[in-house]
């Protein structure tokens, strides 16, 4: 696997505030890398640094073998970026937006026409060419934003919360597009708050309080020792009225975390207490489960919160 994106001990400070602290990661070519973390944890800052827009205070990074400190101009030519704000001109038509970004990336003549046809074919936005971008629905706006972000055939695409506030059907359609491009060898770096999106990614990183605290495939993260403290088990307790039952479960000794999942409760409990737990909630069956990605991140976050007062 050739690394398309690398970061080595990347630290970025704004004055006395450390936005990114000692982050190292590698993303291979054609990989779809998911990047998660609460708002303000440093996700966008890392993207900006990797695109060469921000000089890191310490550490180094490369994209496509280019140095993020020195080759910012060349990086911007070969990288696509799409933010949650889309960066579209709402008073311009779909065609004008695409033409503008084609021009900005220096595409001309036949080459520009060919790329326009390609992104139109890919995103299926052709029927709306003459419509103003402001009049598109959220899902179509995103497809247009993606069309603009990949007009110059970038080898790496950064997507900063690309699906925030979009309905599930549009979200799935957009992800299908990401997978198609990724299949063609385009590397994706996607930030998201949606666990289901993260689970679709080949590998996932989790950043909390400016530090990258976990990185790996979903399966690797689920087996992380920090997420599965020794002597504990993750269990699912089916419940007819989960919200009423939640408080009762939380009060039981040996229950470390408990939260509702649909018509059941997921809990992290001391393994030796499972037997007594079964007695306290006799009407429900208790079964052991794998932690979900959310369980993993919540457990990791609690660990850090408990460690730092």
């Amino acid at each position: 696997m050739t690394a398309t994106i690398t970061a080595e001990h990347l630290t970025i400070r704004f004055g006395s505030f450390t936005a990114v602290h000692d982050v190292s990661l590698e993303v291979g070519q054609g990989e779809l890398f998911g990047f998660m973390g609460p708002n303000g944890s440093g996700k966008t800052t890392i993207i900006k640094a990797l695109c060469g827009l921000l000089k890191p205070s310490e550490g180094a990074g490369t994209i496509l073998g280019l140095d993020i400190r020195r080759d910012a101009t060349e990086i911007r030519r070969r990288v696509g970026y799409m933010s949650q704000k889309f960066g579209l001109y709402e008073d311009l038509t779909v065609a004008e937006n695409i033409a503008f970004y084609a021009g900005v990336y220096g595409l001309r003549g036949r080459q520009a026409e060919q790329r326009k046809d390609e992104v139109l074919g890919l995103t299926g936005i052709e029927p709306y060419l003459k419509r103003r971008a402001g009049q598109l629905s959220g899902g179509w706006k995103q497809r247009l934003a993606l069309a603009c972000a990949i007009i110059h055939s970038p080898e790496v695409v950064f997507l900063d919360e690309p699906t925030a506030g979009i309905d599930p059907v549009a979200r799935r359609a957009l992800w299908d597009l990401f997978f198609r491009l990724s299949g063609q060898g385009v590397t994706f770096f996607v930030t998201t708050h949606y666990m289901d999106e993260a689970e679709r990614c080949g590998r996932v990183g989790y950043i909390y309080l400016s530090k990258l605290i976990a990185i790996g495939t979903v399966a690797e993260l689920q087996r992380l020792p920090e997420a599965n403290p020794p002597g504990t088990s993750r269990i699912q307790i089916p419940a007819a009225n989960p919200s009423a039952m939640l408080d009762a479960v939380r009060r039981i000794a040996g229950v470390r975390e408990a939260t509702i999942f649909g018509r059941s409760i997921h809990a992290l409990v001391d393994t030796d207490r499972i037997a007594s737990l079964k007695e306290e909630v006799p009407e429900a069956g208790v079964e052991t489960i794998e932690p979900s990605l959310e369980d993993v991140f919540v457990t990791l976050t609690y660990r850090i919160m408990e460690a730092s007062p």
Partner: protein, 371 residues
């Protein structure tokens, strides 16, 4: 070179589309300066005429009436009311019903006969310095001429002054004020248009997107300047036409020179607009900062007050204000028929200021990519 201005053409083309798509903004941007020119052009008249004057004539003689007649015939004073007492005289001025009071004492005629000095009291309301100054100098002139007529019988004066006002013979206020007004109106419109266009992009997030593309800061800046520069140039032509046709201000110099030498000023105000847009986070902020440029350019540019009369500190400031140089160009060409030969230095200063502003804004833009 091409790298330095990368993205200029697409940015410029897109900006023209923005302008065309928003006819409301366009209409107001072009119409408001025209309306203001018409409004202020008619309203501003600094020539002092027919000052309301109250008279308290205690003398009631032929001599006192002759003096009052010469006051009335000066066109500066309008003898509109007569007071019956000293108190009434003061009261009329305090109440604002008259700005000048003339009191002729009861011994006026007698002293004239005796050959002793007769005194006439002229009270002037100093709350408007222009009016007061004009009233004092005219009153002095009127009485001086009366005195001389008495001393030199037959009326033949040893010296006669024949003032001849060059370049604006009728001393029409419009000729003096309208060219300056053009500078102010053009400045406000241009700064506002370009500053809002950049800040709008910042608010909508498209500026952030642009920083992730290969667009060069100068490509973005100059690409935005061209459409608004073209608009401002059309506006300048419209305003000049109104000046000529409606206010009958003749252009003594070459119109071509005037248009060409306006370009450095447009460059500068566009640059100032860009600097403002690099500081302002919101459109409201950009609007306030743009409005903040108006007062200094009105008061310190020589538009209203003579720069030579200002304290040295403010003279220094006036040299930093682009409008100062453009008003010199406008008045030079329009009123005095001067040409590029006399005024080129002003154009050079404006060009330098404009380039400095653009580079400053471009640098800010590069840095802001980092926030």
């Amino acid at each position: 070179m091409k790298q330095l201005f990368h993205g200029l053409v697409p940015v410029c083309r897109k900006e023209f589309v923005h302008v065309v798509r928003d006819p409301g903004t366009l209409f107001f941007a072009l119409l408001i300066p025209v309306l203001q020119l018409l409004l202020f052009g008619f309203a501003i008249d600094t020539n002092v005429r027919q000052i309301p004057t109250v008279v308290f004539d205690e003398s009631h003689t032929q001599d006192s009436r002759r003096l009052l007649e010469s006051f009335a015939s000066s066109d500066v004073f309008h003898l509109q009311s007569y007071a019956e007492s000293k108190e009434e005289l003061y009261e009329t001025i305090r109440a604002g019903k008259a700005r000048v009071g003339i009191r002729i004492p009861s011994d006026y005629a007698r002293r004239l006969q005796d050959g002793t000095t007769a005194t006439v009291l002229v009270l002037v309301d100093g709350s408007d310095s222009t009016v007061a100054g004009q009233a004092v100098s005219t009153a002095t002139g009127v009485t001086l001429r009366q005195s001389l007529a008495r001393v030199v019988p037959g009326g033949k004066m040893p010296i006669e002054v024949r003032p001849s006002v060059l370049y604006n013979p009728a001393t029409r206020s419009a000729n003096f004020f309208v060219p300056g007004l053009i500078a102010i109106l053009l400045q406000v419109m241009t700064i506002l248009l370009i500053a809002l266009s950049v800040v709008r992009e910042r608010e909508r997030g498209t500026l952030e997107q642009l920083t992730m593309t290969p667009v060069a800061p100068l490509g973005l800046m100059v690409g935005k300047m061209i459409p608004y520069g073209v608009l401002a140039f059309f506006e300048l032509c419209a305003i000049l036409a109104i000046m000529r046709v409606v206010f009958q201000v003749p252009v003594h110099g070459s119109v071509l020179a005037l248009l060409v030498m306006s370009l450095p000023f447009l460059l500068t105000v566009l640059g100032v607009g860009l600097v403002i847009s690099s500081k302002a986070r919101t459109q409201a902020e950009a609007f306030q900062l743009s409005m903040g440029t108006i007062l200094p350019s009105v008061f310190l540019s020589g538009y209203i007050f003579l720069i030579e009369n200002m304290p040295p500190f403010f003279q220094g400031i006036s040299r930093l204000i682009p409008t100062t140089y453009y008003i010199r160009i406008l008045r030079g060409i329009i009123l005095r028929g001067a040409g590029a030969g006399e005024l080129w230095a002003n154009a050079v200063v404006l060009t330098a200021m404009g380039c400095a502003a653009i580079l400053l804004a471009a640098r800010q833009f590069v840095r802001q990519g980092a926030t």
